[in-house]
Every structure is written in C-alpha cells, then in structure tokens.
Amino acid sequence: MSIRTRKFRAARAAAAAAGVAAAFAVTAGGYPDRFSIGAAATAEDVRAVDIAVMPQGRGLPPGRGTWASGKKVYETYCAACHGLDLLGVKNLADMPSGAALRLIGGRGTLTSARPVLTVESYWPYATTLYDYIRRAMPFNAPGSLSNDDVYAISAYILAEAKIIDKRAVMDANTLAKVVMPNHDGFVADPRPERFKAQP
C-alpha cells in the first residue's frame, strides 16, 4: 500500500468518525445518547411474529367458525387432552399452574376453597381463547391450525360453555363482542398487604 493511499484512508476514517460524532450527542460520561446499533424492522419482519390478539379485537384475522364446524376440529385436535365432554381426561394430570385441561363448568365456585377455574368460570376475555389456541395449541403441533379452525374451536368451547348460541358465527367482529361470565372478576393488585405485627 502506498503512502498516498494510506493517507487517503486515514483522512476518510477521520471524516467518518467526525460524522458519527456529529450525528449523536455524547453525554458527560462519554456515552452517546443513541447508538448506531440494530437494523430497521421491515413490515415483513413484524408481520412474521405479530400474532397477538387484544380484547378489543385488534389482531383478529379474517376467517369464521361455528359450534358445528368446531365440533369436528375439536374432536380431532383437542379432545385427547381436554376430553370429549370438555371436562378434561381422567388420570391425565393437570400440570401444576400449567395446562388446565378442563375447559367448561365451575360457575359459582370462585368463593369456594375448591374453585373450578375454566374458560367458562374464570376467563375474562373470549379473545384470549383465540390468541392462545392459535399460538400454542394443539400441544403436539403448536401454531398449525388455520384461522377458520381457531375460530371454530373458540365457537365450540364458548357454545359448550353456554356463553354463546350454537348457531352464532365467530369472526373478527363477533368474537371481540362476547362478554364472558367472569368479565368483572378481576381487581388491581392491592399489595403490599398490611399485616399486624406479630409478637
């Protein structure tokens, strides 16, 4: 490499460094305010992972399903663990604070020392059902169901729980409007609790 080339490269590097310094304010500690690290996320980058559904219906995709279409899908993909009657499967242990296999029943048990927590008795939002089934079910092939299948299974569970009519069509519009029995069952965290000092 000639001396001339080297000089040229050094000058270019100095110019680049000056440019970087000019682009970012540097704090007293010597750290820039922002860093030229990371890349822009494209619309496609976001679309590939943006699967969350919110209670107001944001994120619900096109598609539809009913109790009738859901019955067949449920029996194919869900019944092995959750039971044909949606009450779970005998001798198939619920994972501690993990999979609650029973899906329906339990209304009126929340003040009991043995509450039965199900989609019917406990879940505050129907949209959560769609979100969770689409992202994590069925257990042996998560994320494999079509949008119509997920709407259909949601409709089947909600109808079996007597929350919607068996003829109701579940889609992006109707699912977000379903009012769950325990919709008002949640309160903000009041802790830290004030306990009386012990001797």
Binding site: G38, P96, A113, P115, P124, D189
Partner: protein, 473 residues
C-alpha cells in the same frame, strides 16, 4: 495389595457423606441404601488397586502422559463412569492421592466438571414443567447456573443465535430488530438478583405438602445477570407518547407472552444474555431473555423474540387465566400481581435431615424481597415464643437472596425452627393464618405469592420435617 477404599477412609465419614448425598436427592437414606453404595464403590474400585509399581526411569519420564492416558481410558471404558453424578466423570480413587500423579488438565475439554462425589441436582416435578434448586445444600447466595430453578410452558427450544432477532415495534418512532451481536455491543449492566416463581410454596398454605426445602422453596434462585437495560433499547426505537404497556413474547412452543407496564421497562428491566459470567443456559432463555428484577419469574419472558409497544395490556392467557390470584374471600382475582413479597426460609436444618444429637448447630438460610434489601431476619427455635436476630452475611443486595446465620444449642427436646424476614420497606413476612385471613382459604391449585413463615419441626430423635403451623411437631 493396596488398602481398600473402606480401610483407607474412615467408614463413618464416608457413610455420613453418602447419607447426606442421598438425603439431598430427596430420597430418605436407609442403612441398606448406604451399605449398597459402599459395597458398589468397593467392588468397582478394588480392580484398580493393583498396588504400587516399581519406580523406573522410564516410568518416571512417562508418568504424566500415562496418567493422562489412564484417565482417558477411564472415561472411555469404565462401567463406573456411568454412575458419576450429572456434570461429573467418575475416576478411580487412589489409596493415597499424594503418591500418584494426578490427571493432566484438559480432559474436561476445557469446560470444567464437578467432583464425582457431589450429587446435588435439580428436582423435577412429575410433569417435568418445573425444576427446583437444591437449597438444603446451598452455600452463600449465588445459585450455580446448572442448579437454577426452571419453569417452562412449552419445553426448552433450541435456538441458533445467528438466526435469532428481537423485534421491537408498535407505538414507536422506528421499528427495529436486534441480533445477539447487536445486544452485546450496547453498554451493559451486570446485577445480582433473585428470581422466584409466583407459585413457590403455593401448595403449602393449608397444610405441609413438600418434605424438603428443595421441593417447597426451590423455585427461587439467585444469579448475576448481564445484559442491556431495556430503557437503552427503547431509546433506540423512540416511544410514542401513548406507549403504556409492552407485550413480551418468547420463541418457545408456548410462544409465551406477558404484558409489562412501561414504567418497569424504563426503570430496571433488562434484556439479559449472560448469567453468572457466561451465556445464559438454554433453559434460562438462550440466547436472550427479559429480566424484570423482583417480579414473578414467568413475566421475565425467555427466548425473547418480540416486544410490542401498546397503550393497553394484551390480556394474554398467562395474565388472565393463569398467574392471577383468586381471593376466595371475595371471589375476585388480583391481576398483574407482579412483585414478589419478602420471604425467608431456614435451609439448615430443614426437612428430611437428621440432627445426630443435642449440641451446637448454626441455623442458616436465605431471605429475599422483590421490594429491596433485607433489613433483618429473626429466628425462633421455640414455636415462635421468642425470636432472636440472625446475623446477615455480606453482601446484602437489593432484590437478591441474603444469607443469614443464627447460633443454636439444641437441648434434645422437640423444637420448631422458623425465620421471618423484614425488608427495607418495613414489610415483615406474615403467618399462614394472616395470609388466609386476608385472601381466603384455597384447598386446590396454587396459592400464588405465598410467602408465609416456614416451620421445620425437630423431634426428640433429631428428625427434621416440614410442619404446618396448625400441626403438632
């Protein structure tokens, strides 16, 4: 013939070591178990005791190399190898280790092994969705990475860091994605913090259910975590004015999700890529996880792939149907119960141990709080009639387990060992009765955020067992 193992080592010492080891595995050790272990050890090792070989010049020169070769052969062929505890390799035990060359370094491939005599392992629940730290034998405050508790909702994914990106989008000025290499270029922070599952001791509220401290309290561990402050990344993307909640999403089969308030994200929240000085383990979220100091473990989403900035919480399954605290007194459930309250437990003596006889014991244990530092720990040995201040061992760090010690002379009569911690906010650990009075009884499922004072009963024979306060020793 050289002396056999049992002649060389005091049999009582060895018996005690084995007894301790078996007890820590959660299995009550019987005399038969221990004899069987000793017999097995004698049988396996006596074959190697061919006696001292005559010293020759050639042998001396070759000594080091031969030791290495012998070691390699031991790894490859010895049946005893299979019996080594996880993380160890079983080697023949010389009668006098000072009279033979030791192994050459490097047989571990450059990543160390533990002693073949150490047997501590995590305990897995029957459904293999959680594993528990062996607290009974814990020392100091740091949990080894391989013994840190685990809780998975869809198993442990295998992720190639070269293909992993963290996408941040939603209510931001510039949606961005970050690779692991990107994260490592940002200014980093290292902090020692505990992490605890909100279900820890949740089955203990109405009665004693777990026999050992590992199984009752082992869903809590402490590590040094290294990563980048989430606030640094949020500055990169630029938050919109109405940004209020952040959805964190994992890349596991559960595609685990929780909503996090923006205030936490802008204070001490970290994106972590290292634990205890090395890359986080796969079961801890490799290559990157969220870490929210002092908050229930499940919200520190592992295998983090996405942060969606929003104006409202997402109401995911894990923050509605799970990880909400049903108050049976009212029928209403507390939601977004993030902080882990102050808690402590005596780790020695604890369930399934046996005190050999009356005399001096140093009671020791761990205390921690999601709200700051531990201010004091009191210990009672007499059913809570009197309490004495335990000494706290430095360092006493905010949101980290703190080791406490308390001298005790056991007079041989039945005793009840308890500890109660107070954190720097002035909050003191409650009793079971206080928690039940506040929240109502729960006979099934997990009583989340259960931080009651733990009791270990000691009977006249020195047997220690988990005792509910409603129960006689």
């Amino acid at each position: 013939m050289a002396k056999s193992l049992d002649e060389e080592h005091a049999p009582e010492e060895r018996r005690e070591a084995l007894e301790r080891a078996l007890r820590h595995l959660g299995e009550p050790a019987t005399a038969t178990d221990i004899d069987a272990h000793i017999r097995a050890a004698r049988h396996d090792r006596s074959a190697d005791d061919s006696g001292p070989a005559p010293i020759t010049r050639r042998r001396m020169l070759a000594g080091v190399g031969m030791a290495a070769a012998a070691g390699a052969a031991a790894i490859a062929t010895r049946s005893a190898h299979a019996k080594a505890p996880p993380g160890a390799v079983e080697y023949p035990v010389p009668a006098d280790p000072a009279r033979v060359q030791g192994r050459m370094m490097g047989e571990d491939g450059g990543y160390g092994m533990r002693s073949q005599f150490e047997t501590e392992v995590r305990w897995f629940n029957p459904t293999r969705t959680a594993s528990f730290t062996p607290m009974a034998s814990s020392h100091g405050i740091i949990t080894p990475s391989g013994l840190h508790y685990e809780r998975h909702h869809g198993g442990i994914p295998t992720i190639d860091p070269a293909n992993h990106r963290l996408v941040i989008h939603g209510l931001v000025d510039r949606p961005m994605k970050f690779s692991v290499a990107d994260l490592r270029r940002f200014p980093s922070v290292s902090r020692i913090h505990f992490m605890e599952c909100s279900g820890t001791t949740g089955s203990e509220i109405m009665k004693a259910t777990m026999p050992t401290v590992q199984k009752s309290h082992g869903l809590a561990s402490t590590s040094e975590w290294t990563g980048v402050l989430l606030s640094t990344l949020l500055k990169q993307v630029g938050l919109k004015d109405n940004a209020a909640w952040v959805l964190a999403e994992g890349s596991d089969a559960a595609v685990m999700t929780r909503s996090v308030p923006i205030d936490k994200c802008l204070s001490d929240a970290m994106i972590v890529y290292a634990q205890n000085g090395e890359a986080i383990r796969p079961e801890q979220g490799y290559p990157m996880r969220l870490f929210l100091p002092g908050w229930e473990g499940n919200i520190s989403i592992k295998w983090l792939r996405r942060l969606d900035i929003s104006d409202k919480p997402f109401m995911t399954r894990e923050e509605t149907s799970k990880y909400t605290d049903l108050i049976t007194k009212t029928g209403k459930a507390r939601q977004f119960t993030f902080v882990m309250d102050c808690k402590s437990v005596v780790t020695f003596p604890s369930g399934e141990m046996r005190l050999p006889g009356p005399g001096f014991y140093e009671v020791t244990g761990l205390a921690w709080s999601g709200r700051g530092k531990i201010a004091r720990v009191e210990v009672s040995t007499d059913r809570g009639k009197t309490w004495g201040l335990a000494s706290l061992q430095d360092p006493i760090l905010p949101i980290a387990q703190t080791r406490f010690r308390f001298p005790w002379i056991w007079d041989g009569s039945p005793a009840l060992l308890q500890s109660r911690a107070t954190d720097e906010t002035g909050y003191t650990q409650p009793t079971h009765a206080q928690l039940i009075a506040e929240r109502g009884p729960l006979e099934v499922g997990l009583f989340y955020h259960m931080n009651a004072i733990q009791s270990w009963g000691v009977d006249r024979d020195g047997n220690v067992k988990n005792v509910h306060p409603n129960q006689k020793v």
